[in-house]
Subunit: 331 residues, 6 copies
């Protein structure tokens, strides 16, 4: 099971100049063969299917825990795409405009506008849907780890390419962060393979052979030490990953580190309505009115309770809403 | 972001008589158009893409939170499939056996054995991979909710059918639970639509028109009140779902309830190695030896730390492994 | 079985300024998940698979009959696309031109030119083929109707989006008409659900929440009353749809009406040859000569007999060509 | 546009011993690359996209008209599949049965039971969905005809193979008929090619080289002359196909014949409810009650009006239901 | 370019007891993600796309040459499948048999009989077609080699699984050989990675960790030394692969060897006609008569010239048929 | 089996002005339904699956041999695409450039840059992967030949269209050559059908009805006689194709000719590194240094041994590296 936290992994820039063509390219990091849906769901299925977990606990913990981080990565890719698409259509639904989507005809991924509400899709940069054939879960630990090392290598290549193609601040913030974190996962899987077989894979780094530390958008994360850290994405479990993830970093020689608490993250921007694509509706203000009434009727504060980067935080959080919490809840 | 908990939603039965043909059928609930990957990823993408969240907070919270529960459902489907596949091949890799997989030739999904290690796949009952076209995220709130109500309806149909087809205890435990929980989500989305539009959808229940309470495997969950409860799958967020999820249950008239804490769940069984398919390897005991050494080298207890249903819990949990937890960790 | 009529549902504008990028977008209404192939084939399969038709005759008749109308809609989408593509390549096959397709390189859907003869494809706006997974036919009447209501809702969204993106007169004539007719089908399925369950879905209209009557290209159809009418697309059958399709229109309160005769329609324009893509050949005049000779040899008028919007109707229709019509024909 | 007639092309046998494995095989004739969806949609798209129709009228009429017949073929394949699936699950929804679908676990196509209500699917014999790549519509008349001749050849092969594999009476009635009609279409396209190019393709027949007249289920159709006839599937149009479809049959030398009226066909059996798969519901009798009330309220006869093979025809058809048939109807 | 030789890599057993279910499983080695189409086309595309070949010649030569061998592997998989399918239908087309394919209904891959003539398909063990997403060609040499090592690892897993599942002599001969040759390619790519990066990957072998030498069907190939040899599949090129493929074998320590001449191979069995599926026709003897006449007319020997395992070799090969071999031929 | 020759079918132009949009269009000739992967793999599978080869030897030889030529065609399409993509990104990896791929954002196929290293893909002009459904191998000889004739007809159409769309010299050199060679294959399959059935298909030529001899890029090949020649792509086999491929050419009446030796071909250009996409690496010069050292260590010449169009041929080829590990193997 999971617990969901309404924060994203890092602070992301607010919407600026829209870049629908760039957003279409960034989709490769979402739904491409080496996108974050692939890393997330590969490790998730491998952890689901892991047999003899107690016997191989450090390896199970490693894979299961990295799966936990990857959810935050598909979330972050979505944030980047949504940010880049914001503003690509007129901000009002005024009756005079004739063809509010004409400007994006033959630009980028048409489903961003025709199927979705200027939102991320489970598709790659060609508009083809992610599919389950991208998941490899052989059950053979050495082989799954070999796959994972290769997957992270391919993912790093794709991130570098997207970095090179798309200059939008959201795309750059995204790829700068993912390159650092993906690098850590690449190391983790290589180290696990070393532990299991005795092979020394460290000389394969970096692959592709571009030093991440020279990329401006990677720098702050490296300076913070994020290239060395594996966070534990569980309040209670996956303790043994530290038995695998240790020793020197292959490129810098610094010690790898396990952090027991996950990163604090940041609240996301509340991206504005795009009424031309009916997101979240043709008349968002009506929805807001209804929401306010519902809160009142439920005895909550009149103001919304969620924390967002660009909004005031409601002064008083609504009181906990439990009515009959009983034996069902875990102590 | 998420936190992952190494427990599953309910206690599941241990492996018994294997049922590879049944496991192939249960895959529909994993990777079918109406499977749990679809519910999980539909609500996940809808929450990622939600615009003007503060304005529509109760609805955002509802969708985002249900996505959190759905992760636990794909996990549970995997548990059922893996349990049913356990034992379908000989338990030893003894040198005399000639064709340990011969008994499953032309039985069920061949990828359970040829591609995977007797493990769940992101495929449907026909062996076709789940794909991103199964995600609907229009950005239009009323439309997304209409979709979600339909999706849960189709999912309920599929769960009933799988219940009718597969008698293996793991499949029955799974479908009994999912029918109850899916029913709650069906109600939640219908109620949300009612709140937004004023329409009264309650007479559409149950759909398909089979009373869940007559299904033996549903009964304990209903008796516990799980047909009325929406759990909050977040330690901190999604408070406003209670502004939508309230009022009477359409079938029983009882009050719907929000539970602030997620269900306690249960530890999963540690499913045994299946060496014939190299899961987690041809010689799992070698991996176990390595694991033990790694723990020792990391200063952890010699015994594995994870909790599993069929194993002793290590007396002493390994100490927290943080070394340099600093600014990166959230207080 | 069907009878085919060589007329289209409404008068469509003749070719004007070509718009290949717009034609690529309009493909969403043909081969997209919510395109007309989906509505046509969903209702067609549901009618094929309908069990106990006599017991549920009004509902069978409704679905089977709407399927009949939808064929005319895929036809109309094709007309729009073909019209928009006309003229995108040079009209002559003169020997001097060097690269008659160069102007459409990287514009719109390349298959419009490389695979087809500037003609409609069973693909969506991304160039991906329509597929059978888009058909839902559970056999459960309430569930199929729930699906159909959702399908029409998604289709309405797509039509609005295409309207907003593409200004070509053919696209606008198409979407104006389809929005009105799709709205009727949306009402029909909601009403059928009401009849079966007692739920009142009328407050869900319109969805998306844009008033169709404000769209200029919808107006003439609404003024004619086409937003209230369900035509019977059969000379002999589907009489009982009137038992379902009645009562007030959810938005206007006017009475819904069943028309026993299908719409008269209009002859299509005979779109000109596009010799650069060999449609209907590199030298269409040779085909015309052969056709004339074949007619003469068969004792028909020298002139073609078909009726087209932009051509003279042959004065004398060729005589009926039956030779041995016997027991095989129905009285 | 089309008009739909609630009759099927030929009389089909009633349900007998169910054959779900056979039904899975027959799906090849529905959704396979050479199935009837392919013939129907190929000719339909080719007719939609036909340019310079007046110039090439006899050829346009031929293709457009055969498309009309092919709709009746997908209908007939569905009838066969639905007939073969009838009875594969228990006929009652009695509370004692534990696993009504257990008998069809790992038998045939699981979607016949899990996704559908024992009904036909737009899939092939492997359970893969039909897709738009199976449509060829180049716009080049000679090339499209070459394709169509090849398509009918492949379709004939598939029909023969299904005939050889499946002995169920419904499958045999289906393939016997389709072999004869497919043969006519094969001749029609070859003849059209001959007319356009002067080539003599008649020696290619039969292909595959099995004489249809020796197949018992083909005989009655051949004796009726159906191997020589092209029916006009339009009350008003496609007159010029007779300018192409004439001359001797390649195998028998008999004259080819155009019949101006379509075949009379026959009413389909009203296949019984299958409550185990909720088709048309868990309690079909409730739907029947509602239907009866709706008819009464609409001033119709209490009895259903549709004609089915196994039911009494309502003595008095309900009166025509038009209320405001006006300008919309064609004279 | 290639030259094709009408011999197969090894002697294969003649048809014996047919095993259509086994043949369906063996398809995984043809069209699966890790099948031989994948190895063949991955290396082929990587060689096509290789930039700066002169600069990286030893690596280019290695990849391009292994691609050459892989063609022989897809050929051998086809031989195995075709052999296993031989005899699954009656050997005669006698008029009395009623349903010659009835015995294979719901057995194995239905396309082996319905779509093909008991022949291999570009599909996997689930009947899903191979597709281009299985090709990885990033252009980055280190990354492509990492992929290739992983691909061969996955392929080895699949071969072992098929070996375990299918006991038919043809399947065993196939997998025995492919395991040995795949092992060599696995070593080759690991060695290439070592040469480029300095990493030592040898401890990863074997993976999966099953010693190939214990498999009876591998033994003869290992005794012949085939586990050490890379053959040069070119009469003129790819000389520099020897600069990469050298040093000790990771498991045995023996020296790796480059053989300048490709393996001699063996003639394939001429598999018999299967008239029930019209392969190569309903009346193969008629084709043979035509073939004989054509040879005579062309001045060739009356007997066929090809060499097959189960047939006499024509005493006198037909004379070379060149008529105007001129400048076009290479000296 | 095959032998691979490191030469391409014809001299191709060196890189010039890059044309990524054109390269995306040329992909249709690679991975489209009628692309060269389809011709290559159709004939390859048909030859693999050919039953009773001795009985039908001339036809087997024809199909098997043309498959051999088609490999050279996929190679040539790759050369064209790679040539057209060369230079689309900056030639240096200088640290100052910020977004070296920005210029190709939303241009052509994004996978040319994001997934690949500016190299050819097994995809069509829409970026969709080639798949095994494009292979037809019914086993019925007449039917397979009918298919092959149709396939070559569709391929010719596609080649003409690409010719018309793309003016880049590499695309024109490619299509000019393929049109001539495809025409020969079209004739070969038609002639084979004539030999088997007695039908006269020659009047179907040319199809599409454009005279190839008027296309400037076809002329040199026609003047050389390449429109009449079928080359034998085997040093030893496929002798009997000459029993089928003879008689007059359908368009010119000239004698068809079998050439016993394959075309000489030409060395390909060694396309330069594209460091912006890491092909063959971020620092290709490092790879070159390693390669040189490896050659030296293996006792080979210091210079690369391969022959390329734009490079000097190494004066002294390295000596043959014969059979049992001599100088070629590493000590």
């Amino acid at each position: 099971m999971i617990r969901r936290i309404d924060r994203i992994a890092i602070e992301m820039p607010p919407p600026s100049e829209p870049d629908p063509a760039g957003a279409a390219a960034v989709q490769e990091l979402m739904g491409g063969r080496f996108g974050e849906m692939s890393t997330f769901l590969n490790y998730t299925f491998q952890s689901f299917n892991f047999r003899n977990r107690q016997g191989a606990r450090p390896f199970y913990d490693l894979i299961a825990n990295i799966a936990g981080e990857e959810f935050g990565h598909i979330e972050l890719v979505a944030v980047a795409i949504n940010t880049m698409l914001t503003g690509a259509t007129p901000a009002t639904n005024g009756g005079t405009r004739k063809a509010p989507l004409a400007a994006v005809k033959d630009v980028g991924n048409p489903h961003h506008f025709l199927a979705g509400g200027q939102g991320a899709l489970p598709q790659n940069s060609q508009g083809r849907p992610w599919n389950g054939d991208y998941v490899f879960s052989s059950g053979d630990l050495v082989e799954d780890l070999t796959h994972n090392f290769f997957l992270e290598t391919g993912a790093r290549n794709n991130k570098l390419k997207v970095y090179e193609m798309v200059e939008h601040p959201a795309a750059r913030a995204l790829t700068g962060y993912l390159l650092v974190r993906g690098g850590v996962h690449q190391v983790a899987y290589a180290r696990a393979l070393e532990r299991l077989t005795g092979a020394d894979l460290m000389k394969l780094f970096p692959s592709p052979r571009i030093p991440t530390e020279k990329i401006p958008e990677c720098k702050p994360h490296i300076e913070r030490g994020d290239h060395l850290r594996l966070y534990r994405f569980s309040p209670t479990d996956y303790l043994e990953l530290a038995a695998v993830f240790n020793g020197p970093h292959p490129e810098t020689g610094e010690d790898l580190v396990v952090i027991d608490d996950p990163p604090e993250g940041a609240p996301p921007h509340d991206l504005p309505s795009q009424p031309a694509v009916f997101a979240p509706g043709y008349a968002p203000e009506e929805i807001a009115e209804i929401a306010e009434k519902l809160r009142e009727r439920a005895g909550m504060s009149k103001d919304p309770s969620g924390e967002v980067a660009n909004g005031r935080k409601s002064a008083a959080k609504p009181r906990r809403t439990t009515r009959k919490a009983t034996a069902g809840s875990r102590k």
